[in-house]
Symmetry: C3
Subunit: 383 residues, 3 copies
Amino acid sequence: MKNNLMRFALLILGVFGIVFNGFALASPNEQIASILEVQQYNRAIHIMAMLLIGFGFLMVFVKKYGRSAITATFLLVSISLPLYLAVKSAGIFESRGEIEQFILAEFGAASLLIAAGAVLGRIKMYQYLIMGMLFIPFYILNELIVVEDHFHFIGTIADTGGSIVIHAFGAIFGISAAVFLSTLKQRETPIEADATSDRYSLLGSMVLWVFWPSFCSALVPAETIPFVVVNVFIALSGSTIATYIASVSIRGKINAADIANAALAGGVAIGATFDHATHLEAMIIGAIAGVLSTVGFAIFQEKQEKFHKIVDTCGVSNLHGIPGIFGGLAAIVVVDGLDVSAQLKGIAVTIIIAVVAGLFTGKMISLFGKPDEIYDDETEFED
Amino acid sequence: MKNNLMRFALLILGVFGIVFNGFALASPNEQIASILEVQQYNRAIHIMAMLLIGFGFLMVFVKKYGRSAITATFLLVSISLPLYLAVKSAGIFESRGEIEQFILAEFGAASLLIAAGAVLGRIKMYQYLIMGMLFIPFYILNELIVVEDHFHFIGTIADTGGSIVIHAFGAIFGISAAVFLSTLKQRETPIEADATSDRYSLLGSMVLWVFWPSFCSALVPAETIPFVVVNVFIALSGSTIATYIASVSIRGKINAADIANAALAGGVAIGATFDHATHLEAMIIGAIAGVLSTVGFAIFQEKQEKFHKIVDTCGVSNLHGIPGIFGGLAAIVVVDGLDVSAQLKGIAVTIIIAVVAGLFTGKMISLFGKPDEIYDDETEFED
Amino acid sequence: MKNNLMRFALLILGVFGIVFNGFALASPNEQIASILEVQQYNRAIHIMAMLLIGFGFLMVFVKKYGRSAITATFLLVSISLPLYLAVKSAGIFESRGEIEQFILAEFGAASLLIAAGAVLGRIKMYQYLIMGMLFIPFYILNELIVVEDHFHFIGTIADTGGSIVIHAFGAIFGISAAVFLSTLKQRETPIEADATSDRYSLLGSMVLWVFWPSFCSALVPAETIPFVVVNVFIALSGSTIATYIASVSIRGKINAADIANAALAGGVAIGATFDHATHLEAMIIGAIAGVLSTVGFAIFQEKQEKFHKIVDTCGVSNLHGIPGIFGGLAAIVVVDGLDVSAQLKGIAVTIIIAVVAGLFTGKMISLFGKPDEIYDDETEFED
């Protein structure tokens, strides 16, 4: 009797222990899942600050086109986010968490803003909307092929922070679109900045700098975040110092646009490797990217614009194009066990899709007109 | 003996299992409570960015009144937060978590800043302080009656993000106060903006846009955040695009103030329904709010100012008043199982309290003088 | 047999219970550690916004030196963060979490930016880099002696938010460096601001205000955050209102630089006590700091500059020096069980190291030249 009671008590204790723990654990585990998604949301907000305030104000460097640049940013973000979410909600795509899907939409919006930077000031406001509507499907196509390897054609690439599929894609799309959106007259019109527009631009640059680690780490697991975000900050520090040195060395004086732009090249380039590089490698990649980008702005941009007969208003090929491709290639040196062939195929396919899609989109937009009065709020804004 | 040892071992194991788990669990559960409150704190910081940088710079659109607008924002926030916390620490109010209480104080400060937008530039700096001290008690009274239903008079309303009790209350309070704070001479003085002040204003607007989801979701449970914050972003996207289309359609050209203000109307209007609407409903509510707000700025404002013989410096009735009421009414269509009578009573009581309190406060402030030199830093600031 | 089966079942249940719980618990506990570190990361981002956007734009008040001030901020942050991390990775230092170490590096960068504020506009861009490289080792030395009490000389001081070791150290270092970086001609050159530069400066000030609680609470345990962050906001509210009243009382009119700077003095002063003070004490400390700082800007700065034959461009002794020391001393009244002797020794040692290190650094920098054309972008920037 006593024995049985004892056994019964033990049984109750044991079962109760498990059941109790089961219940109690369920709650923390579910709450932890929620907490992790809210932490993703925090990074989503940081990215949104980059999209609107960062990219928006970076483009305010064009002296008389500030209100237009900001309004264009508002419209590009507002058209691309819902469009991306709508397309991705179609049954053919893998279903994802609400915030994860939203962050992917923000990545698309970032790439679009980069593309728009190439033609900034030379299209009408509604043409930005058309650009956004045409861009997003192509962007999703490239994402499907290169990132998700939906057609089992590429393999697995290293590009968590989007050096290739966000930055290079957007830049190449933009300069390809510019082929049909740069008239001779436009090519001869100078793009003017002044002290006030430069300071706004540097504000945008700082916002991008500050939140860049959240952009790269938006979708990485919580436990890897501490190391990788420091990597991003170190890469940005590297490019910032390298940009200053390169700018003074090449030009004799510092150029505010170099600082506002090329200082960010470390963030662009580290996107493919921030989750694999050591801190020292991050510093080196950042520094090289800063030099490459400054050389781009100071030397190549003029030549490239003449060669391709285009205008690249914000110099996106120097900030996002070259550093993005460089970052993608740097993975070959930095990432252990990288599938090099996949990485190269990923870069090549991204370039091809971006060129074709950009040319097509530029041509389509150009059908709605190529204005003569450019880089000026007054053509579309009330006084 | 062996049996007893075995039983003893099992007992120890069982008890130890439970006790161990009990201790171990206590720790995660307590830590989770802390973590959730720190996540609330993150949203509190986002709201603070909206209050100071967002509202502050949105009001810098008045060309010569920028330093004053920013200083007024500083003072209004600094007087209202401690005052709200002090009043709410009185024994008659329900006790709450430190951060929850602080977020409620921030909501009050937001409503106050909206109210102050109506009379901006036409009162002295110390009069903003008086306004803040009179506003907060009335705001708490309305909160007590309408949100907490302390007197069991209203019932439960849908207004988590404050379309009614924050935005509409603040706007109606402000334009009511303006009745006693708009002289004939003041009504004839134009409010001037320029390219630089517009760009500051658009900066403020972007800060508000970016952090708006944290404003709405500040106090909702973590597990509902992912869906509802995307709703807020979608509503803002809807109002931004609708504002551009409405602005061009009505005026022929884009108006920078429309973009800076009406683009946010989706955020104002979705406050009552963001936690119930589908994404599509959020988009529609946002778009309608954007159109209503733009129509308000482009057409109604002048008529309303003439009719009520007031000046509404920032057009708060167009950004916060009409979209706020519209948002409150939209809940009737969108929210399943809504107590419609409570919702209507909540809106009506809010309007009544705001009108009475605003008229009283405006009259009180006007006793300290109505300056002739307005919208100009120079009257109160050193060069 | 039945007995044995039963025992076996119980044994399995018990062991399984423990093992299962062990595994299951391991996961939440590890995840909670990750989550807490990601929350630290959020605060690290807030601090980064303060460093670049906050300090950077606060220094844009110098009318013609905006691009330089922002570039200097970029360079100072980019040189000091990696340098701090590199030094601290040496074996002699305690190893810490990645983010914790990074936040300590940000504290060093903040102190450096304060120091640079004293000589802003009177050194060349590369001299800021030299300043950063010399500053960080001294800062780490002071941290080692005063904060970590590595030599068991000081004892435990109250200074979690860095009133003494970040703010006062940076300010005293800066004005000491200014002794060798203020020529007679420089002392006679006025520092000009205008409406646009003031508005940028107020933007920087607001960014600092908003994120200040994350600066103070960056490394405190999650469970204490709710109370202490509200303390910081209350102290800032106190100094903001006190600054307005003091500015008008002393000068007759409001001074924009007072508002941009002294409004933050509450944040500086509360750093030593925000984790011990009551809300009322926080308000009082903030208000006193606001008054002290405004008196400093309005009355003492000119006298001090004449007395020490220096120029303190940003008035860092008024914003960070005096309020920092005051905050350190306020702990004597506010903190129960404070080791008063340690607190006083900590303040004294910090002052001594800052003076010696600042003089040395100023002398070293002065060897590279003291420019005649100052406070002007044009000397180093392309048009």
